[in-house]
Structure formats: structure tokens, C-alpha cells
């Protein structure tokens, strides 16, 4: 049993769980719901085991380090955090349908990590700059934030779908998307997950700055990755403020959640490929 096999199985389990939610959505078959949740939990457990095993394997190779150090490992962790945050939200708010909008992201991330040919799955030793405990703090805080923003964008899609057809004036049960919770409820969840993500992103930027200062003596050097993380931070700061002035609730909020995720993905992924800078080791 190897970690990449476990993580490959995880990919298909997420796909399966996603399909369960699609089934629920299409056929309004709520009795499948516990089954879908169970599949998600099983996927998360297998994935956790896979990540743990990869950590263990790195020690077996004599280059032990937490599995959070390259593109492959970060994508796996990203997917793990999406599933975890999704499950916590589902447990707390019982939307019953959010899985269809959040889990595809976890699945796509895992599919990209496991099967893309452009991504190296090798456990490689750490270059000196990465040998720091700040690495773990930085990667975890950033990706928990990114995962929360992903769930927020999933909720945004859900919101737009809900208000696109039928409108809110028709009574529940007769609407095409009656099984999606009310717009007010979704909006509240978008806001909650954005706030949650915002705090983690802030912590992620701060841990990155502290780390940079201990490695290079500069906590901020306007390198493209840093700058884009700040741009993302600005986007969410704008969204959180615009609630108070422009009354940007509802549709604009849902669009901001999606725009925010685009910026997150560019910060995370696009910068490595289109722009050059200090974070080059994150691309391999």
C-alpha cells in the first residue's frame, strides 16, 4: 500500500460522493443523503491516511518532512481542507445540497494531483530555504483559507442558481431549485465562510512574512506571489466592507465570492506559471 494509491482511491471516492449529491439534487432523493455524507467521510479518512502515509514514507527515505512542500502535496492538502470545511459546515448548517457545489472542487483538485502528467509526485528532499517550522504554519493557514474561499464560491454558484430561475417570490416546493436552501440562508453561509477564510488568509500572509524575515531578513518584498496574496486579501476586504455601504448582498456577494476564488487560484497556481519570483519551488 503506497500513499499515491490511497490518494488515487480518494480521488474516485470524492467523485462517487459528488455523484451521490448530484443524484440527490436531480431526483430529490434525500434518503441517499446519509450515504453521500458517509462516502465523503470515507474519502476524507482515506485521504488523511494517504497524507499520513506519505509523511511516513518521507521518513523512510531519510528526508522526513511534512507533506506540504510542493505543488502535488499542496493540491492534496487543498482538497483535504475543502472536504473537511465542507463537512463541518454541513454538520453545523445542514444544507443537504452544498456537497454538490463544494465536493467537485475537492475531486478536481485530487484528480489534477493524481493524474496530471505535469505534476511531480515524487517525495523530494527540502532545499535549505524550506527547512523551517514556519513552512507548516504557512501552508496550513493559507490552504485552510483557500479551502474556505472555495466553499464560499461553491455557495455563490448555489445562490446564483437559486435566484436565476423561479425567483424568490414563488412558494417553496414549486420552484425548480426548491431543494436549495433559501437565498438568505445561503447568503449568510457565503458571508460566514468568507470571514472564516479571510482570517486564515490573513494568518497565512502573516506566517509567510515572519518566515521570509527569518530566512531573508525581509518580511515583505513585493514578489508576485506575495503581491497576489495581498490582492486576494484586498478583494475579500472590499467584499466585507461593501456589505456596509453598497448593500452588496445577494447577487453581487455571490459574484464576489467567485471573483475571490479566481484570484485565489491565480495566486496559488497562475503566479507559478505566468510570473516569476521567490515562490518558484512551489511549481514543481
Amino acid at each position: 500500500m503506497t500513499s499515491s494509491l490511497l490518494l488515487g482511491i480518494t480521488t474516485f471516492t470524492y467523485l462517487f460522493a459528488t455523484l451521490c449529491f448530484v443524484y440527490i439534487f436531480v431526483f430529490k432523493a434525500y434518503r441517499v443523503y446519509p450515504f453521500a455524507i458517509a462516502a465523503t467521510i470515507i474519502a476524507l479518512v482515506i485521504q488523511t491516511a494517504g497524507i499520513g502515509l506519505r509523511w511516513y514514507e518521507s521518513y523512510g527515505m531519510g528526508i522526513g518532512h511534512a507533506p506540504l512542500t510542493n505543488m502535488y502535496e499542496s493540491v492534496v492538502f487543498f482538497s483535504w481542507a475543502i472536504a473537511l470545511i465542507y463537512l463541518l459546515m454541513e454538520w453545523k448548517f445542514k444544507t443537504r445540497i452544498l456537497g454538490m457545489f463544494a465536493l467537485p472542487f475537492a475531486f478536481v483538485a485530487m484528480a489534477y494531483a493524481s493524474f496530471s502528467t505535469g505534476i511531480s509526485k515524487e517525495i523530494s528532499p527540502l532545499i535549505p530555504a524550506l527547512q523551517s517550522n514556519w513552512l507548516i504554519a504557512h501552508v496550513i493557514t493559507c490552504f485552510v483559507g483557500y479551502a474556505a474561499f472555495t466553499v464560499a464560491a461553491g455557495l455563490g454558484l448555489m445562490f446564483l442558481l437559486k435566484v436565476s430561475k423561479g425567483g424568490t417570490e414563488i412558494k417553496d416546493g414549486h420552484r425548480p431549485f426548491a431543494n436549495i436552501p433559501s437565498p438568505d440562508q445561503i447568503e449568510d453561509l457565503i458571508n460566514k465562510s468568507m470571514i472564516f477564510g479571510f482570517i486564515w488568509l490573513t494568518a497565512g500572509i502573516i506566517t509567510g512574512a515572519v518566515w521570509a524575515n527569518s530566512a531573508w531578513g525581509t518580511y515583505w518584498s513585493w514578489d508576485p506571489k506575495e503581491t497576489w496574496s495581498l490582492i486576494t486579501w484586498f478583494i475579500y476586504a472590499i467584499t466585507l466592507h461593501s456589505r456596509y455601504t453598497r448593500g452588496w448582498t445577494g447577487k453581487p456577494l455571490a459574484w464576489m465570492a467567485i471573483l475571490g476564488l479566481i484570484s485565489v487560484i491565480f495566486t496559488y497556481y497562475g503566479v507559478n506559471f505566468f510570473l516569476s519570483g521567490l515562490h518558484s519551488y512551489g511549481s514543481g
Partner: protein, 442 residues
């Protein structure tokens, strides 16, 4: 007067905050696409002279330090300060207002409210509710009003300050950054093994900067993984003041050395084609260290030794094996291989000559002085605390109006509540609390 008000309102507005944040987000993109701080000639070559000229005018090559970007940051600061001053009195009033001055009719119209009645008189109920609420962490107070007794319970009033903590934290970070840029410096130095310096060179202007003490590189070493990737760079540094060694420490990447507010970071290295050879003659135990260039003969006349590096093996600029030629007195000359950094013992008549050789390096150090960094860190901590408080702690208020019912034997109760954020969460805890209070007495 009207005019000043308008200016004040503009600077205090959330609209300005949104505009400034949007501008910062959009303009920041420029510097991630156009590489920053390259030499002028580079921009001319890459973008052509006309475009390069245009860039110069707008300070694009150093856009994050340009006048217009600093103006945007200044605008953000002004906005933060003025909006905080503008809103604080209202917040303070909301925190300290007499909550029991509320009119009973207002309670009747609150979204969250429950009504029930008790068979016991008002005073008994009031006492019981007060204890229960105090136990649950609420700050309580009561007052006799015309129609009965009004109990108030509040918590988290201070959380209204959270947003100000966030705003102040951004200003604290800016102050730290300004202090760092005026009173600190960033520099580099390439220090060959065995050499010392009292000056380093500014990263931005290349001007020399006096350290005020001497820094010596005793040695430099690199470790490699089996696959050839560098595992660790390390330098042993000594700080000297007035010719006396004050401090000697090994630094690695991520483990810098700090002396008198100046920090030395291991950042790079340079491999030389020179070698450091140390020779020890046994059993005399006399020895000496030499720095010699590749394939040149060196002498130690006192001991009548001649030697040189005749060959070296390695990959890239990294030497792994060194071939030494040596002649000691009348003994026949010998040539032998040693691994980089290891030694070989050569019998020579009644003595033994121990020779070790290693490739010579210079350690590349980043040198930084930043007296503002602690303020920046303080700002970061304040920001996290402030964000947590402003998003997750709410000012929750409960009112219990106890009125004697018509027969004057029992009490009719009105419970109302309000929270300044997280309405749905508060509605749930309000319902739970109401259940508990109702269950207390039958």
C-alpha cells in the same frame, strides 16, 4: 463649515475605503507583471526606449515605492484614521449607553422575544433570573420601572472595539515599515573563508554601510543530499569588536545571527578555484593553514615542504576529490587523492605529515537592520485578534420585563434580545436560553 464637513465625510466614508482598496488591488497587478527593480537598460531593451521612458515617469520599475502608490497607501491610512475617529463616539455610546432606559414598547417590537407567565410574584422571579443569567456569563442589572421590574443582561460590549483594533493594526504595521525603511538597511556581503569585514553593501544603492564591528567568516560548508540537491549551507561567523572576539556562531538558512540589531542571514555562496590546505607534522604537532590557487606550487620554507593541488574532481563547481603533490625535505615527492575536507597521513622519514585540503568558498550573507520589525509583528498580532473579535464576538443584549399580572399574584414575563452580528446564531442561542429560563419555574 459645510465644506469641511464634506471633506471630513469623504475621508471618513466606507466608499473611499472601497475605492482605495480597489485601486491598490488593481495597481498592484502591474508590479507582478512588469519585473521590478531591474537596471534601467533592461527596461529599454525589453520594452523599447519610448515605453521605458513612460515607465520612468510613472516610476514603474519601483512601483511599490513610487509616489503614486505611496499616495494610495497614504489615502488608505487617512481613511482608516478619519473613519475611526468619526465612528468611535457612536460606538462608545452604544457600549456605554444605559440599556435599561429602553422603552418597554421597543421590547414588544423586537424580532427576538418570548412571553410567558409565572404564578409567583415579580420579586421572586427577578432574583432567580438574575442569578441564572449571571451564572451563564451575562452581566446583569435591574431597575424598577413604572410597570414592573426590568432586568438587563449584556455581554461582549467590548467586541465593538474589534474593528478599531483591526484599523489600528494596519497603521501600526505601516509605522513599523516606515521606521524600518528610514532607520534600517538591507545589504549583502560576499565574505571569503578566513576573511573579515567591517562594511557591507546596500542592496538598493550598492553604497558601503559601516557595521560598527567586524564580522569574520571562519568557514563555510555545504551538505548535499544523495541526489545532489543542496541540503544545508552553513557558515561559522565570528563577531569582533576592538580586536576581541565577542560572539562565534554557526548560521544556516532560516537560522540567522543577530548582533546589535544587525542580522546576518545565510543566503548564497561562491565556490573558488582556490583551496585551503592545512598541514600538520607529527609528532611535532606543528601545523599551518594555507590558501593556495589551483595548480600552483606553495612552500613552507621553515619545514622545507613544497606542495600543490595538481588535480581536482567534482561536479559543477563542487569539488569532491583533490589530488595533492607534496615534497618534504629530501624524501621523494608523493602525490595522493584526498576527499574534499578530509586528510591523509603521509609517512615522511621519521615523521608523519597530515595533509588536509578543502575547496575554498565565500559565504554570501544578507545583512539587515530593521528596528521596525517588532512593530510590524505587533501589528500582525493585533490584526488577528481584532479580526477574530470583530467577526466572532458579538454584543448581545437581553431584556426581561417582569410585570405583575391582573390578580397581582403572578408575573407576566417578556424576554427580548438583540445582537449586533450573527443574527441566526444568536436566534438559536436566544431560543435555548428562553427555554432554560422558562423551564426554571413552573
Amino acid at each position: 463649515m459645510k465644506h469641511t464637513n464634506q471633506v471630513w465625510e469623504f475621508f471618513a466614508s466606507v466608499r473611499l475605503a472601497i475605492f482605495t482598496l480597489c485601486s491598490l488591488a488593481l495597481t498592484s497587478i502591474i508590479g507582478t507583471v512588469i519585473p521590478q527593480n531591474n537596471p534601467d537598460s533592461w527596461y529599454v531593451e525589453t520594452y523599447g526606449p519610448a515605453m521605458a521612458q513612460f515607465f520612468q515617469v510613472l516610476d514603474i520599475p519601483d512601483m511599490y515605492g513610487s509616489w503614486w502608490f505611496l499616495i494610495l497607501l497614504g489615502l488608505l491610512c487617512a481613511n482608516l484614521i478619519i473613519c475611526s475617529i468619526d465612528r468611535f463616539p457612536t460606538t462608545w455610546r452604544l457600549m456605554t449607553i444605559d440599556q435599561m432606559a429602553i422603552h418597554p414598547d421597543r421590547l414588544q417590537s423586537m424580532n427576538l422575544r418570548q412571553e410567558w407567565s409565572l404564578p409567583t410574584p415579580v420579586s421572586a422571579g427577578a432574583a432567580q433570573f438574575t442569578t441564572a443569567l449571571a451564572k451563564a456569563g451575562w452581566k446583569t442589572a435591574s431597575r424598577e420601572i413604572e410597570t414592573g421590574t426590568l432586568l438587563y443582561a449584556g455581554r461582549g460590549a467590548w467586541s465593538r472595539l474589534g474593528v478599531y483594533v483591526v484599523h489600528i493594526s494596519i497603521l501600526v504595521i505601516f509605522i513599523g515599515a516606515i521606521i524600518g525603511s528610514f532607520l534600517g538597511f538591507k545589504g549583502t556581503v560576499m565574505l571569503p573563508e578566513g576573511e573579515s569585514t567591517t562594511r557591507i553593501f546596500s542592496t538598493t544603492s550598492s553604497e558601503p554601510i559601516d557595521l560598527g564591528f567586524e564580522i569574520l567568516c571562519n568557514s563555510f560548508s555545504i551538505d548535499y543530499y544523495p541526489n545532489g540537491m543542496p541540503k544545508e549551507y552553513a557558515s561559522v561567523l565570528t563577531v569582533r569588536e576592538n580586536g576581541k572576539d565577542i560572539l562565534k556562531r554557526m548560521i544556516e538558512v532560516n537560522k540567522p545571527l543577530n548582533h546589535k540589531g544587525i542580522t546576518f542571514y545565510q543566503s548564497s555562496y561562491q565556490a573558488y578555484k582556490d583551496f585551503i590546505v592545512s598541514i600538520v607534522i607529527q609528532p611535532d604537532k606543528t601545523g599551518k593553514v594555507f590558501t593556495i590557487p589551483y595548480q600552483q606550487e606553495m612552500q613552507w620554507p621553515e619545514k622545507n615542504i613544497r606542495f600543490g593541488i595538481v588535480n581536482a574532481e567534482g561536479t559543477g563547481d563542487r569539488v569532491t576529490r583533490i589530488k595533492i603533490w607534496m615534497k618534504h625535505g629530501d624524501q621523494p615527492a608523493s602525490t595522493f587523492w584526498v576527499d574534499n575536507g578530509k586528510d591523509a597521513s603521509i609517512p615522511s622519514g621519521d615523521k608523519t605529515v597530515a595533509v588536509s585540503a578543502k575547496q575554498m568558498f565565500a559565504t554570501g550573507l544578507q545583512v539587515a537592520k530593521d528596528p521596525g520589525v517588532w512593530l510590524v509583528y505587533l501589528g500582525c498580532i493585533l490584526m488577528l485578534i481584532g479580526l477574530y473579535v470583530s467577526f466572532f464576538v458579538s454584543h448581545q443584549r437581553l431584556w426581561l420585563l417582569l410585570r405583575p399580572d391582573k390578580e397581582k399574584a403572578g408575573t407576566s414575563i417578556l424576554l427580548a434580545g438583540a445582537s449586533n452580528k450573527n443574527q441566526t446564531g444568536f436566534a438559536r442561542s436566544f431560543a435555548k436560553l428562553a427555554d432554560r429560563l422558562r423551564g426554571m419555574q413552573q
